[in-house]
C-alpha cells in the first residue's frame, strides 16, 4: 500500500501525514509539486499548510502545479484522494470538489480540538467509522468556512456527500456546519480538521480518533 504525500512550497503537515500513514502500516511516498509523477501510488494525501503562502486565495496557485495536472485526471478516474485543510482548499480550487472555503466568520485563525460527526461512513477514507459517530480532531485554520450555492448544497445533502459536520459549536461559520465533503464517487474526500494530528496518545490532540482515516484506506487498498 503506497500512499503519496504531496509537498507544495509552503506545505506544513506533510511530515505528520507521512507519520500517520506509517503508523497505519502504509508506505508514505513523498510526491513533489513540480514533478509530473505520481510514482504509481495507490492513494494520495494532500496535507495542510500554507501552500504558496496562501497568498491570493488558499490553494489557488497550488492547483496549477505540475503534479496536479497528473492528480486531477487520476482522481477523476477513481484514485483515492484525501485533502485536509489546505489540501481540501486545493481540491475545491481544482474543482475535484464543489464549493469553496472562505475566511472564517469570526475573522480569526482558530486552533482547537473540535467535535465532529461522521455523516458518511462509506467513502474510501471513512469505512472504519460508524455513521453518526462523533470524533474529536484538531481544527486549525483561518479560512475554513465552507460555502457553495444553494443548488450545490442541496445536492450534497440529498446525495449524502456531506461526510463530516461540526458538532457542538461551529468554528468558522461553515454552511450547514459542513466540515468535509466527498465527490460523487466517494474516492475524493476533503475536510478542514486534521486527522493526522490525532493518531498518537503522546502528541497532538487528546485521543486517537484520526486513526480511522488511515485504517480505512489501508483496509480498502488491501482488499482491492
Amino acid at each position: 500500500m503506497r500512499v503519496g504525500v504531496v509537498t507544495f512550497p509552503g506545505t506544513l503537515d506533510d511530515q505528520d501525514a507521512a507519520r500517520a500513514l506509517r503508523l497505519a502500516g502504509a508506505e508514505a511516498v513523498p510526491l513533489w509539486h513540480a514533478d509530473h509523477d505520481l510514482k504509481g501510488v495507490d492513494a494520495v494525501f494532500l496535507p495542510g499548510g500554507f501552500s504558496y503562502g496562501d497568498y491570493l486565495r488558499c490553494g489557488a496557485i497550488s492547483r496549477f502545479a505540475p503534479l496536479m495536472t497528473e492528480l486531477i485526471p487520476a482522481a477523476q478516474a477513481g484514485l483515492p484522494v484525501l485533502g485536509t485543510c489546505n489540501g481540501f482548499q486545493i481540491l475545491c480550487e481544482a474543482h475535484l470538489l464543489p464549493g469553496a472555503l472562505v475566511r472564517n466568520a469570526g475573522l480569526h485563525y482558530v486552533c482547537r480540538d473540535q467535535r465532529i460527526r461522521v455523516d458518511n461512513a462509506s467513502t474510501a477514507w471513512t469505512t472504519d467509522f460508524a455513521e453518526g459517530q462523533e470524533i474529536t480532531l484538531p481544527v486549525k485554520h483561518g479560512e475554513g468556512r465552507y460555502v457553495a450555492d444553494a443548488e450545490t448544497l442541496a445536492e450534497l445533502e440529498a446525495t449524502g456527500r456531506v461526510v463530516f459536520r461540526y458538532a457542538g459549536s461551529n468554528p468558522n461559520g461553515s454552511l450547514n456546519d459542513i466540515a468535509g465533503i466527498t465527490n460523487e464517487a466517494g474516492n475524493v474526500v476533503g475536510l478542514m480538521p486534521h486527522p493526522e494530528h490525532a493518531v498518537e496518545e503522546l502528541t497532538g490532540a487528546p485521543g486517537v480518533d484520526g486513526r480511522g482515516f488511515f485504517s480505512s484506506i489501508v483496509r480498502k487498498l488491501v482488499n482491492a
Binding site: 491570493l56 486565495r57 489557488a60 496557485i61 496549477f64 475545491c92 480550487e93 464543489p98 464549493g99 469553496a100 472562505v102 475566511r103 472564517n104 466568520a105 469570526g106 475573522l107 468556512r145 460555502v147 457553495a148 450555492d149 461559520g173
Partner: protein, 81 residues
Amino acid sequence: MARVIVDVMLKPEILDPQGQAIARALPRLGFSGVSDVRQGKRFEVELDGPADDAAIAEVRKMAETLLANTVIEDFVVRVEG
C-alpha cells in the same frame, strides 16, 4: 508599459464577514450614514507592452483562472486611466 486593474468581489449572495465587521464597527467609531460595506481585492497588473485587446483578453483569462474563484467571486477588468 500599461497597468490593468482587476477588481474581485465576493458574489452578492456570499456572506462577507470582513465587510460586515467593518460596517458594524462604523457607528461605534462615530461614522453614520453607511448602509453596507463589502470588502474585495484589487490587483494592479503591470504589462510589459501596451494594454491592447489581446493583452486585455489575456488578463481576463488570468482573472478567470487564477485571480478570481468564479465559484464565489465576480471580477471586472479595466485599464487604468
